[in-house]
């Protein structure tokens, strides 16, 4: 294929072509390296930080995602070292047996470690607690949650309950949650509803203000403590309370390179994975359109006659129908999915190509070599394959490159309106989310997808024009 080598040499001389190729390679690299560039899933990894979090580099004072308990599962016997133990009698120890086994499909257990509170005196009230002191260094957060699992084994007559407190810098203890005082055993269970500042009941109870958020719980920088307290009131019995999977989370108001969306998904991840879809859709739809266009153009040009007339009329009718409204209507009926988008763009993008190929065929048909082939007995099929197609192929490649940008932008438009695949975070879908959730002010979310769409389109446009210049010299300007 010496022709290709010569093409490559001439291509490398075209500034536009090289620029386009470099740009395209950049996005291809982004697409291939996506799993390395980000560990998250663009669609399903949610709640990485608080919703609509800002990028981390925007404001360093804003809270980051922080988990304050180093070993929430109490997996090793040293787990209790980070805790302050306060007890008036009860024994608090690390237990290697009674770990939280987790709930199927909801959460994974952390293994056999846990903390055991064992009541000592058979009569009277005992109170014991473990507290975790942490230093809060950011501006007040908007969301704060505590996760905890507990279990109790009782013998005899005893009343017990458990509480979770947050001690603020002033020393005031906010009661985040307490269990019902009861006398029997319970297997591993969780607070219900969960201890989360998003929970309106907690906010109303503590602050009498439904519009408050975690900033009322953690209003200033400083030293805070999370306290888990067990109270037992024995009347001849004893109780063993176990605690496990005890984690404390301040939800970040910033996250990652580009923040999070309305579901707490990482926007940078969506951007990176979006390249895969855009490239795939762009190329696939363009291939469909070009193949259709070549077939129709070839047939129309070579066969001629009423076939030509019919095909070209059909071509023109489809051209007149405005593409986007038709696609909107079709997608609304077929149902949004990536396949329907690809097929739609492909089946509505072949018309211009068919016209071009047809005129090329018409001019070739009258050339001498076709007559010569016929004269020496070449059949129709032979003529098409060996003589016409090779001449048309180069034009087809160029048209392919030039059709991709339209396909990419059309997919973005469809997704923007809401007709794209609802399970794929394409760049267009990201912009849809911006519009739908009214997040225009979050420019780190609104701007990057559009820039990527534009750059990827331009890459193909540059490549196409460079190819056009080299491969179709007869169209060169005088």
């Amino acid at each position: 294929m010496t022709g290709f080598k010569e093409f490559a040499i001439r291509y490398s001389k075209s500034k536009l072509g090289v620029a386009g190729l470099v740009l395209l390679l950049f996005f291809i690299a982004m697409a291939i390296l996506a799993p390395i560039l980000t560990p998250y899933d663009p669609q399903y990894t949610m709640q990485l930080a608080n919703f609509r979090a800002k990028p981390e580099w925007l404001d360093a004072a804003l809270p980051r995602n922080t988990y304050y308990i180093k070993d929430p599962g109490f997996t090793t016997s040293n787990a209790l070292e980070e805790w302050n133990i306060v007890t008036t009698g009860m024994l608090i120890n690390w237990s290697s047996q009674q770990g939280n086994p987790g709930i199927a499909f909801v959460e994974v257990g952390s293994g056999p470690g846990s903390v055991e509170f064992k009541s000592k005196n058979p009569e009277g009230v005992e109170i014991a607690s473990i507290e975790k002191i942490f230093e809060y260094t950011y501006t007040p957060p908007r969301r704060f949650s505590v996760h905890i699992a507990y279990k109790a084994i009782t013998e005899g007559e005893v009343l017990w309950n458990t509480q979770v407190y947050l001690k603020q810098t002033s020393g005031k203890e906010l009661l985040l949650w307490e269990s019902v005082e009861q006398g029997g055993s319970v297997d591993w269970t969780f607070p219900s509803p969960q201890i989360d500042s998003n929970n309106a009941a907690i906010r109303i109870r503590l602050f009498k203000d439904i519009l408050s958020d975690a900033s009322k719980m953690i209003p200033v920088k400083g030293e805070y403590a999370l306290i888990f307290r067990v109270t037992s009131n024995a009347n001849g019995g004893n109780v063993k309370v176990y605690v496990d999977d005890f984690s404390v989370r301040v939800w970040g108001e910033t996250f990652g390179y580009l923040g999070t969306d309305n579901y707490g998904r990482d926007i940078y991840t969506q951007l990176v994975y979006g390249s895969r879809i855009s490239i795939a859709i762009g190329i696939l739809s363009a291939v469909i359109a070009v193949v259709l266009g070549v077939v129709v153009g070839l047939t129309s040009g070579y066969v001629g006659g009423w076939v030509d007339e019919l095909l070209m009329r059909f071509n023109d009718v489809l051209l007149t129908i405005p593409g986007l409204p038709l696609m909107i209507v079709l997608t609304a009926v077929i149902g949004p999915s990536i396949i329907s988008v690809i097929i739609l763009i492909g089946f509505l993008g072949w018309m211009g190509i068919a016209r071009l190929i047809r005129s090329q065929i018409l001019s070739l048909k009258s050339k001498a070599f076709v007559e010569a082939a016929r004269a020496t007995g070449g059949g129709t099929g032979h003529i098409i394959m060996k003589h016409l197609v090779p001449n048309v192929i180069t034009m087809a490649y160029t048209q392919l490159a030039l059709t991709v940008p339209g396909a990419i932008v059309t997919e973005a438009a469809l997704s923007f309106i809401g007709l794209g695949d609802p399970f794929l975070q394409t760049w267009g879908k990201m912009l849809h989310d911006v519009q739908y959730y009214g997040a225009i002010n979050e420019w780190w979310w609104a701007v990057p997808p559009g820039i990527c769409i534009a750059l990827l389109s331009m890459a193909f446009v540059f490549i196409g024009y460079a190819m056009d210049d080299i491969l179709n010299p007869q169209l060169r300007r005088r």
């Binding site: 986007l324 309106i417 534009a454 389109s457």
Partner: protein, 323 residues
């Protein structure tokens, strides 16, 4: 061939196209799974006799070809069904919004054409200059950037951050009653979306104008004009432009279809009370009659624009008439 038969041929073709569009509309929505009446019944609770009456009203109990005929007749008379959401005739919904869209699209297209032509002519005259190269680059850029994204960015910068312009709607709420104030209010709201549309569109026009001009400028009669001593400005605008306009007319009409769809998206971004926003709303609310109606109306508009351009082209270029 004569101009009249040329006109007639184009007209017939346009009518056939519209007919095909209507048929497409009919087929597509009959293909939909689900019962159209059931959708309405969801919204209002009805007794079985009323449901039956609805069936009769919509002609759903008649054979398919009868429904088709009824559909064609109704649509030709301007009846486009009832919107699920607003419970009004779709035609009325559309007529409410159409003027706004036409205002936006018309203004931005005219500005883009004029701007594009001026830039294209200058770029062709000074081929290879910095002006020329930047003109081409902007043209490429405009084609690659999604229309709605430019709108988003401008809204962000000028509307939200700088607060120079309003961020939504066609008029303020409540709208000023004084007619002059109302006009100014609308213009103020129109500024950003128009600017967004112009940015996207003018590149295409500039590129075509430039290409057409460059072709024309190499013709012999231009060389002759220059040899005769006619000043460059006159050469450009009087001699070259007239011939370069022919491809421009085609592009202008074809662009109408693209402009419409671009405007559709831009309207959504700016909450402009036009057809574009109507599409977004109809999709979000699954208002199928509205979608059908919009598709039909926009198709008719594009067909009409193409017909107009064909006629103007035929009028301007004597060669076409005598094919």
């Amino acid at each position: 061939m004569g101009f009249l038969s040329f006109l007639g041929k184009k007209l017939v073709f346009a009518v056939i196209t519209i007919f095909i569009i209507m048929t497409l509309n009919f087929i597509i929505f009959r293909l939909m799974p689900g019962d159209p009446v059931a959708m309405i019944v969801d919204v209002i609770r009805l007794r079985p006799e009323q449901v039956q009456r609805l069936y009769e009203l919509f002609g759903l109990n008649k054979p398919l070809w009868e429904q088709y005929v009824q559909y064609i007749t109704q649509t030709s008379q301007g009846f486009l069904g009832y919107s699920f959401y607003s419970q009004r005739a779709v035609t009325q919904d559309i007529m409410d919004r159409l003027p706004n869209t036409l205002l936006l699209v018309g203004t931005s297209t005219i500005i883009s054409i004029v701007l594009g032509m001026v830039i294209g002519i200058r770029a062709a005259a000074k081929r290879g200059s910095a002006f020329d190269i930047s003109a081409i680059s902007f043209g490429f850029l405009g084609n690659s950037v999604p229309a709605f994204w430019i709108g988003l960015i401008m809204l962000l910068v000028f509307g939200v951050n700088l607060q120079w312009f309003p961020i939504r709607g066609t008029t303020s709420v409540p709208a000023p009653t004084d007619p002059i104030a109302l006009v100014i209010d609308i213009l103020w709201h129109m500024a950003l979306p128009t600017l967004a549309l112009v940015i996207i569109q003018f590149g295409g026009f500039a590129l075509v104008m430039r290409a057409a001009m460059m072709d024309v400028l190499t013709e012999d009669y231009i060389t002759l004009a220059r040899a005769k001593g006619i000043d460059e400005r006159s050469v450009l605008y009087n001699h070259a432009l007239r011939n370069a306009m022919l491809p421009m007319v085609t592009v202008i009409a074809l662009a109408f279809g693209f402009t419409l769809t671009g405007a559709l998206l831009t309207e959504t971004v700016f909450s402009w009370y036009g057809l574009g926003r109507y599409i977004w709303d109809a999709i979000t609310r699954q208002d199928y009659p509205a979608l059908q109606g919009i598709f039909f109306i926009t198709s008719v508009m594009v067909v009409a624009a193409n017909l107009l351009s064909d006629l103007i082209y035929g009028y301007l270029d004597p060669r076409v008439k005598h094919e």
